[in-house]
Amino acid sequence: MNDAHNLDRERFGAVLTLMHRIRAFEEAAIAAQKGGLVLGAIHPSIGQEAVAAGVCGNLQAADLMLSTHRGHGHTLAKGADPLAMMRELFGRAGGTCGGKGGSMHIADFGVGMLGANGVVGANIPIATGAAHGLKLQGSRQIVACIFGDGAINRGPFLEGLNWARVFDLPVLFVCEDNGFSATTRTRDMTGGAGAAARAQSIGIPAEEVDGNDVLAVDAAARAAIAAIRAGKGPVLLHCRTYRITGHTAVDPATYRPAEEVEAQRANCPIHRLRAVLALSGMDRAALQQIHDRAVQEMNAIAVQASETDWPDPAAAFSDVQDMGDPRERAY
């Protein structure tokens, strides 16, 4: 149990703010999608905010992070501008990727966010190689690689973890286990004891943590990152959480009983942190204000994004590659 009386209220007040901002960003995006403003699929991380906040809160600005198709929370937590992110979801100019990527390919290299990825597990070798590149250059930066539970059944999980161990690379692997591989229960598709056991079998220290308890995630991430910075090589954190929404924002997720989802709503990481902060003596009005400000911020951002211009169509032909004409023989 966490001792509420010894809680660093200022720090975890900021964590609560971040978690509310992530939640509010995604709720604004879902509302915007219903209004036809978000054109492509979005994969909400509602209920999983403690992983983003607990892990990324322990990274330094210069550290790098790679995320998944369900990556809005990680990206915000690494410091990306939510207006640029919302513009990206809306396909507008000034989006993080100029409207070329959308939700599944948000990247912001300026804050060390090396990309969400549309292919499950594909970020694992890339994160490993990013750490390899940093090590070759004598950097002190580390890399956090966040992936879902489904990714541990792909080959690149084995290849990347083995590689990180062989080369003793500064990588924090985070399995954000929300229980579902798209619409299938991961436990029905997974042999053995799962992510941590697989990591341990190739010599990578691994820890399981309640992914809805941001204090636990924070403590585990802090310890893991300290070990990685001390040059001990990769560590894996297996954070057990729950995906409150369906696979995408439009998936009704009727493949699971309503009682299960209700029970998990009661286990919401934001509610849990609010309860701890209240117990520590934080004013209820102050807690409510954190929520309200986050909602106001993200709703205003959605309006602002909707008022932004579309990208110049000519941008469809830029940043393909330096050589050759992308229009050759087309149309």
Binding site: L64, K100, L114, V119, G129, P156, N162, W163, D325
Partner: protein, 328 residues
């Protein structure tokens, strides 16, 4: 000029570029023992285990790690051993390396060279012999290079390493021992420029990689019959040198494309279609292409040879193109 093998010319390119730029490094299986064909022989002794990195047999991670390492400021040379094995890393090359720059809105570049030896070579059968260059030319974001001579392997590989976008670099296994004149001074061959390997006015033969040599032999034979073929070695397949090919076809009025790859949906189809579209009124005969039948490559020489475009097939195709049209 000095005489050097195709293999050693590539090795020299790596040495020169690694000496020139500390960000360049190589990763792949068995590199510390020189690599499967000896392309990296002695390099680990010269540059150390960090810059000539032995890796697990993890093609997906070799390719994916190179993408990440390129994003963080290094310039990896990826060794895939055989192009056939690179198929284990298609996501990492096609979905990640090729698309990152565009997909992320030009925030960064992925400067990496993927060396994938291609081609038929001494009874290597269906999983060690393929020529899949056309697949890569289809992917926006990739540069595709296929050198055919020692001098080009030196000059093109150096240019590829200096390129800021991912380059698929396809050396031909059957050419490793080929000797040729190579400049002793710094030698850079620009990407995207074809080489007119032999000048002629009767027919234009467009080819690349190992087939350059078959085409030159056929052209030599044809010259004995008074038919002068122009042999163009594309060297770079994307972007390919349309100007050189079109100028030649405008002069000769006849085009033959010769490739080792399966003809169906091969890169030769792109050349043939482009010429047919753009130069219809300059053509004196229909465009022709030669390539392998659509069969997996077999082991036994008598079977393997059925996948080869022989010199005689090239000669026959040229004779067909230059034959007077029957009166209509």
């Amino acid at each position: 000029m000095a005489t050097e093998t195709y293999l050693n010319a590539g090795r020299r390119a790596v040495i020169e570029e690694m000496q020139r730029d500390d960000a360049v490094w190589a990763l792949g299986e068995d590199l510390g023992r020189g690599g499967v064909f000896g392309q990296y022989k002695g390099l680990q002794e010269m540059f150390g285990v960090d810059r000539i990195a032995d890796t697990p047999i993890s093609e997906a991670c070799i390719m994916g790690a190179a993408v990440g390492a390129a994003m963080t400021g290094t310039r990896p040379i990826v060794e895939m051993r055989f192009s056939d094995f690179a198929l284990c890393a298609v996501d990492e090359l096609v979905n990640q390396a090729a698309k990152a720059r565009f997909m992320f809105g030009g925030q960064m570049r992925v400067p990496m060279v993927v060396r994938e030896p291609i081609g038929m070579w001494r009874s290597s059968a269906a999983q060690h012999s393929q020529s899949l260059e056309a697949w890569y030319t289809h992917i926006p974001g990739l540069v595709v290079v296929a050198p055919a001579t020692p001098a080009d392997n030196l000059g093109l590989l150096k240019s590829a390493i200096r390129n800021d976008d991912p380059v698929v670099y396809l050396e031909h296994k059957n050419l490793w021992a080929l000797e040729g004149e190579v400049p002793e001074a710094e030698h850079l061959v620009p990407l995207g420029k074809a080489d007119i390997a032999r000048a002629g006015d009767a027919v234009t033969i467009v080819t690349w990689s190992g087939m350059r040599h078959g085409c030159l032999r056929a052209a030599q034979t044809l010259a004995g019959q008074g038919i002068e073929s122009e042999v163009i070695d594309l060297r770079t397949l994307w972007p390919w040198d349309r100007d050189t090919v079109f100028a030649s076809v405008r002069r000769t009025g006849r085009l033959l494309v010769v490739q080792e790859a399966v003809s169906v949906s091969g890169f030769g189809a792109e050349i043939a279609a482009s010429v047919a579209e753009a130069l219809h009124h300059d053509l004196k005969a229909p465009v022709r292409r030669l390539g392998a039948p659509r069969i997996p490559i077999a082991y036994a020489p008598a079977l393997e040879d059925r996948a080869r475009v022989g010199d005689q097939a090239i000669i026959d195709a040229v004779l067909g193109l230059v034959a007077p049209c029957p009166a209509d």
